[in-house]
């Protein structure tokens, strides 16, 4: 069997931190090879090295038998390596066609906009996303469409080695991706596939290399190992999925937050009640109005009609500050742009919403700030050493933990979590579930939780609201909330809303 890629002794350090250490493994030609590991295990650094964006300190790479040491993305592409990046490298102010054809922007000496858009249309059609107009600005597309575009761009370079870094993280369903990969499958194409979802890896990959702290733990054949073995190797949740249904809690029945007949740009008549002590799930395909509902409750968007009640009293959520004062804390979907303050320390990011409580006579006491943050950090299992680091330097999962710690610091009673477990590793997911459980177990806490992962919703939630076309079309209880039932509801095949909120 021919080898597509051989890595030998690859190491990369950034100052005191070791991102990759003696990474050695081979990838057989024509296979789909998974790379798994927790956040910070070195997967992204490996992808960046293979893409020509980082040059490893030591070690060698070989592509199709000949030495491979790219110093730029262009060199990597010239050797037939292309990448769909996890952080979506589409430029929001350029059109779909421009993004697709960067940096060459078509053959010929000048840029021919019309011709490029026509070609882009063909490419988009070819890969099943013909609904995206080539002349649209990427910034106006949904996250899922941007993700698909990122993948299509990588694929459109006709690579011999395709690197997919969390390609399904922003996709509400993987059908499209599976179809695309099945369509591409050939003897000449090798795929490196990074995902946190083991089910996907089982479906798509033949072999998997497990990374931990920048080192290769093992390379295994996917068919030969159990999930639990993989988890154990990743060094995270040895007890399994982390999805453990502990629905022994009982909601107190008193209303924490209620939506009454909310109307808006994308919603028409959304009503529900979030009770104290419960985790209320929200299941939906993308763009069914769930985002606007969350944003209304967070004070970011305003409904055109309808009202919101907090603890039974009607409230006007003029802005996020009002929502926070009323105890509603929103954790947004796009960490990079909406959640974190890049350039500030993790500590500052955690305390920023609760400065009043860590100050003395209007001045911030560094020690006070640090000590009072430690509890919140422990609660979300965020390692103390990260507090002093810039939040940009943290992996996605750890950033998410920091944002959750911020919500805890604000002593909010109701958390509005918008897909907090997207693109984070299994271990962190477990931590997030644990945090949610503890939060509602205190009795006065309540969580409204949207997730694109139906399995985790079904496992963790008491009740699950299914959004479809801007309304709650069904309410599935956690016990019988099996995934198929949810799936049929959110695709509009189930209109049996059991309990209609008053």
């Amino acid at each position: 069997m021919k080898l597509a890629l051989e890595l030998s002794g690859l190491s990369k350090r950034y100052g005191p931190t070791t991102a990759l250490s003696e990474v050695t493994f081979d990838v057989r030609m024509g296979t789909t090879h998974a790379i798994v590991g927790e956040n910070g295990a070195g997967k992204s650094t490996l992808i960046r090295a293979l893409s020509g964006l980082e040059v490893p300190d030591t070690g060698t790479m070989s592509l199709g038998g000949s030495a491979y040491r790219p110093r730029s993305l262009g060199e990597a592409r010239a050797r037939g390596v292309s990448t769909a990046f996890q952080d979506l490298s589409m430029l929001p102010n350029l059109t779909v066609a421009e993004n697709l054809f960067l940096p060459r922007l078509g053959a010929g000496p000048t840029v021919r906009r019309r011709a490029n858009e026509a070609t882009a249309g063909v490419v988009l059609d070819r890969y099943g996303i013909g609904h995206i107009a080539p002349n649209r600005e990427v910034g106006t597309l949904s996250l899922a469409d941007r993700q698909k575009l990122e993948i299509v761009r990588a694929v459109s370079h006709k690579p011999k080695l395709l690197l997919l870094d969390e390609p399904s993280a922003a996709l509400p369903d993987v059908e499209w991706l599976y179809g695309l990969l099945a369509d591409l499958r050939s003897e000449d194409l090798t795929i490196l596939y990074i995902s946190h979802r083991l089910a996907e890896i089982r479906d798509l990959c033949q072999a998997a290399t497990v990374l931990r702290n920048g080192r290769v733990i093992d390379t295994v054949s996917v068919d030969d190992v159990d999930d639990s073995v993989v988890f154990q190797m990743m060094g995270g949740a040895t007890e399994g999925h982390g999805i453990q249904a502990r629905k022994s809690r009982s909601s107190t029945g008193s209303s924490a937050v209620a939506a009454r007949d909310l109307h808006g740009k994308t919603i028409a008549g959304v009503s529900f009640t979030l009770q104290r002590g419960e985790i209320l799930g929200v299941a939906a395909l993308e763009g069914q109005g769930q985002a606007e509902t969350f944003r209304i409750l967070a004070g970011v968007a305003k409904p055109s009609s309808g009202r919101v009640e907090v603890e039974g009293r009607p409230v006007r959520l003029r802005n996020p500050a009002t929502a926070l004062r009323l105890g509603l804390s929103f954790v947004a979907e796009e960490r990079k742009t909406e959640g974190i303050f890049p350039g500030l320390s993790t500590l500052a990011n955690v305390t920023i919403g609760a400065l009043r409580r860590v100050q003395t006579f209007g001045l911030l006491g560094a020690r006070n700030e640090y000590v009072s943050t430690l509890d919140a950090a422990r609660e979300v299992d965020l390692n103390e050493r990260y507090l002093r680091m810039d939040i940009d330097a943290l992996s996605g999962g750890n950033q998410q933990k920091a944002i959750l710690a911020r919500s805890l610091m604000q002593r909010s009673k109701s958390l509005l979590l918008y897909d907090p477990s997207r693109g984070v590793d299994v271990g962190t997911k477990g931590t997030i579930y644990g945090l949610m459980e503890r939060f509602v177990a205190r009795g006065d806490g309540a969580i409204l939780w949207y997730s694109t992962d139906l399995a985790e919703l079904a496992a963790v939630c008491d009740r699950i609201l299914c959004f479809y076309k801007g309304a709650v079309v069904a309410e599935v209880s956690g016990e019988d909330g099996n995934v198929e039932r949810l799936l049929s509801a959110i695709t509009g095949h189930d209109n049996s809303r059991h309990e209609v909120a008053p």
Partner: protein, 342 residues
Amino acid sequence: MSTIKKALSNGSVIAFILLTAIYVVYMYSSIDVLTIENATDLLNNVAPLVIAATGLTLVIISGGYDLSIGGVVVLANVILATHSGTTVQSGLLAMAVALGAGLLVGAINGVLVAYLEVQSIAATLATFIMCSGIALVIMPSPGGNVPEFISPGLNSTIGGALPVSLLVVGTCILGWLVLRRSRFGVYIYALGSDERSAVQSGIRAASVKFRVFLGAGLLYALAGVMLSAQTASGDPNGSALFMVLVFAAVAIGGTRFGGGRGSAIGSIVGAGVLAVLQKMLFALGVSTFYTGIVQGAVLILAVLLGQVSLLVAQRPRAAETPAPRDDRDAGAPVPAAQRGTS
């Protein structure tokens, strides 16, 4: 409808409306506005600003700042005023040296920002101060003469009909339109929007940045030459206000400070707004002491109008965005107006 929306979200349209409004007032304020001489005079006034604003727009769209404008302009001015000699050849040589100085400063800025990763404000502030210092060394006090082909040469007309400054402004507009449709033009926008993503899209960020500063340096030097045509002499201290007006022109034109959005057309129209405003106030008999106050107020007005029209342009209409399947929903980008000010 979408055309109007597009126009509203384009900053240069606001600047153009402002320019028209001010020009109408100006027209009624004085009887000799619509003469060739007056129009030529106006174009002469605005040309230096137009060239410099075009250069600055390139830098700002690419995500940088450039304070070296003032330094380069004054450097070009004193070189012309002290080293022109008496012959046409020596004058041309002085002009070449002046333009070369602009390229050199641009190259230094470029190396500092693109390859040594110095923040652009710090790097260009340093070169501004250095150039101002060098200008004082070359010419300690105001005076001197610039070559005749520059003043009155660049202020006159070709064949009695086509003002040189109209040619200059036209070239800037045309050059921009060509650039906007070139690869390099797309790279500048990409870089200003998100450098990391631009690199991940295969753009060589450092090289693009370097070339932007190089081109901007050359344009500032050209602006210095045109400004010398106006003043006809050298002044080693006379650049701070000019630089402020260049930034104002870019802001009025709707270019986003921070990068990724804007156009040189807007900045050019913005330069026109400032120049016509000055003329109008003069024609109305307002003391020149008040010019700055009104210019500042117009700048604020333009920026506010820009924000309002963006909000209007981005308000979705029922017909265009059917409630259930609005796929903007989840991604729900922050309105550009908010992003623009951050």
